[in-house]
């Protein structure tokens, strides 16, 4: 059974929006990183949906690159979270307030 493009896109947009809202309102850096992952996965879903509809393989290739890059980004992100936690014993963005104008 073929899933129509609208379903892919609807789910993708919903996931992306949820992720974006999560980044903006959550206060824990780990949750924010997860929300960013969700946004990237929403992008992947959109690419797969389009690639399936157009029978063009570029979109599916793109997904592999996005996944690889997301993994690298999270590796660096978690390392930084560990560094912050060692110095400040906090993972909340509200406590990252040394610099303000």
């Amino acid at each position: 059974m073929a899933v129509p493009l609208e379903c892919y896109l609807g789910l993708s947009v919903a996931l992306f929006t949820l992720g974006a809202i999560g980044v903006l309102i959550r206060r824990n850096i780990l949750i924010i990183l997860m929300c960013i992952e969700m946004m990237l996965n929403a992008v992947n879903l959109a690419f797969i949906g389009f690639a399936d509809t157009f029978k063009a393989v570029d979109g599916q290739m793109f997904v592999f690159f996005v996944m690889t890059v997301a993994a690298a980004e999270v590796a660096v992100g978690l390392a930084l979270v560990v560094a912050v936690f060692r110095n400040r014993a906090t993972v909340s963005v509200d406590d990252l307030n040394l610099m303000k104008w």
């Binding site: 974006a20 570029d58 979109g59 793109f62 992100g77 930084l80 110095n87 990252l96 610099m99 104008w101």
Partner: protein, 487 residues
């Protein structure tokens, strides 16, 4: 089934290969060499950058594409290769003593600078959206790590994590925009194909195209630090190590603007009225906010961060003009900005002395009397950033504003010139403090090193020289803009 392997020529990505190999060699040597004998990484990096520059010069004039149409070979890309290599080399020159003071003169710093430069090159030469995305991320991930280089320093931590979260957030928008364009064009990611596919299918998929365009603007807006996506800039610039700030300010901006300009000029010429009005508003807001808020800053790095936001606004004007002179002015200004900004950050490092103890603008009092050469260099950079005649900053702004006049954006130019006047206030204030106000105490010795001296003399001399004789750069830039025959 047979698979055709496309032919390719390794020399067309020679500079990339050189930088990759140099970076890996630096990392290996770092791991293998005994402790205390690691002084040669800057020289090795400079050697790699020099070889890459020579390869770029030898590529100059090549046209077309390579690697199954993934890589553009044109002078536009090569011009930016040279600007990026220059920025990276100057950064290496100003870093060494600064990092040693912090005990962080490590091999991975230089390797990461080289990898980031490589990512920037991928961005400016990318002919396929995957290439541009990959370049952007190679650059960004390396720079997230660099911003957090001082692990024990709370500000550096904070800068890195803020940059990472907001950078990844903006990448997600950029990617979603790319996905929308992929859908709108009916399944292609090549920039060349996107341009005419988007026009052909315009009747059917225009909303999707515009959504993709808007999301791309958000993504690039973050990277070039344009209002309203500028919030990270002051914090990250202030918290990151000063040498990394210099690299971020010039390299990331140049690469992001290059990719931005290529996409706008190549893929969206048919949608000019749509993106132009949007960018008009963004440019005005960016210039005004950057300049007005910079006045209120007392930390020099923060002031330069807001100045960098303001400069993003001027550069957007060149992009909006969307004519040949606009492109030329963009290329010229990004080179000029590299020279004057790395120079200014070099002085900030020297005046900051041990571990950035003196970053307030009032710490510059008495510099003119006690260290006249350093003060003169800073004055040159400040004059150039303010756009005084006789410096590269003036010529760059002159090209940008004449391009906008040519394209008929009179009001934009008026606002730009007014902004330029506002900016004179805070740049000249530094000069006034240096020369007119006596030092509260003896400033003490400043640790000049040969490499730092070389970087400052080179940037100061080039700032003046190309401000008086802009012909050479102008011709190179004009030649580069032939990559976009439609303009």
């Amino acid at each position: 089934m047979t698979i055709n392997i496309p032919t390719f020529c390794l020399s067309s990505i020679g500079p990339w290969l050189t930088l990759t190999v140099t970076a890996i060699v630096v990392l290996l040597l770092d791991a293998l060499s005994p402790k205390g004998r690691k002084a040669y990484f800057p020289q090795l990096s400079l050697l790699g950058l020099a070889v890459a520059a020579v390869q770029t010069v030898r590529l100059w004039g090549r046209t077309g594409d390579d690697f199954a149409r993934m890589v553009y070979l044109d002078n536009f890309a090569f011009f930016f290769y040279l600007v990026l290599i220059l920025g990276a080399a100057l950064t290496v020159l100003i870093s060494r003593q600064y990092l040693e003071d912090y005990g962080k003169n490590l091999g991975e710093y230089y390797a990461l600078i080289l990898f980031a430069t490589l990512g920037m090159m991928l961005m400016v030469a990318g002919a396929h959206l995957i290439m541009i995305f990959l370049g952007l991320e190679i650059m960004s991930i390396a720079i997230y790590v660099l911003a957090g280089l001082f692990r024990e320093d709370l500000r550096s931590n904070e800068a890195a994590i803020k940059y990472l979260v907001l950078g990844a957030f903006s990448s997600a928008f950029l990617l979603f925009g790319m996905a929308m364009l992929y859908g709108a064009s009916g399944g292609t990611l090549y920039l060349n194909d996107l341009a005419h596919r988007l026009v052909e299918t315009a009747a059917l998929t225009k909303p999707l195209t515009l959504l993709g365009l808007a999301l791309l603007l958000v993504g690039f807006g973050f990277k070039v630090a344009s209002v309203p996506f500028h919030m990270w800039t002051p914090d990250v610039y202030e918290g990151a190590p000063t040498s990394v700030t210099a690299f971020m300010a010039v390299g990331v901006k140049a690469a992001a603007f290059a990719a931005f300009a290529r996409i706008m000029f190549l893929v969206f010429p048919a949608f000019l009225p749509q993106w132009n009005m949007l960018l008009w508003v963004l440019a005005v807001a960016t210039m005004t906010l950057g300049n007005v808020v910079a006045i209120a800053q007392s930390n020099i790095k923060r002031m330069l961060a807001y100045s960098s936001i303001a400069h993003a606004g001027y550069l957007l004007v060149g992009l909006i003009a969307a004519n040949q002179l606009g492109g030329v002015s963009l290329l010229y200004y990004l080179l000029a900005y590299t020279l004057m900004n790395v120079g200014a950050f070099g002085v900030v490092i020297l005046v900051g002395r041990k571990k950035d103890s003196y970053l307030n603008i009032n710490d510059y009092a008495g510099l003119g009397a006690q260290h006249p050469a350093l003060a003169a260099a800073m004055a040159i950079f400040m004059f150039a950033l303010a756009g005084m005649p006789g410096t590269v900053g003036f010529i760059g702004k002159f090209y940008i504003f004449s391009a906008a006049i040519q394209a008929g954006y009179l009001w934009l130019v008026l606002i730009g010139v007014m902004n330029s006047l506002i900016s004179v206030f805070y740049y000249l204030r530094i000069t006034v403090i240096m020369y007119m106000r006596p030092a509260e105490a003896d400033l003490g010795a400043i640790a000049f090193t040969p490499s730092m001296n070389a970087a400052l003399v080179l940037t100061a001399a080039a700032t003046i020289w190309f401000g008086i004789f802009p012909g050479l750069i102008y011709n190179l830039a004009l030649n580069s803009m032939k990559a976009f025959p439609g303009l």
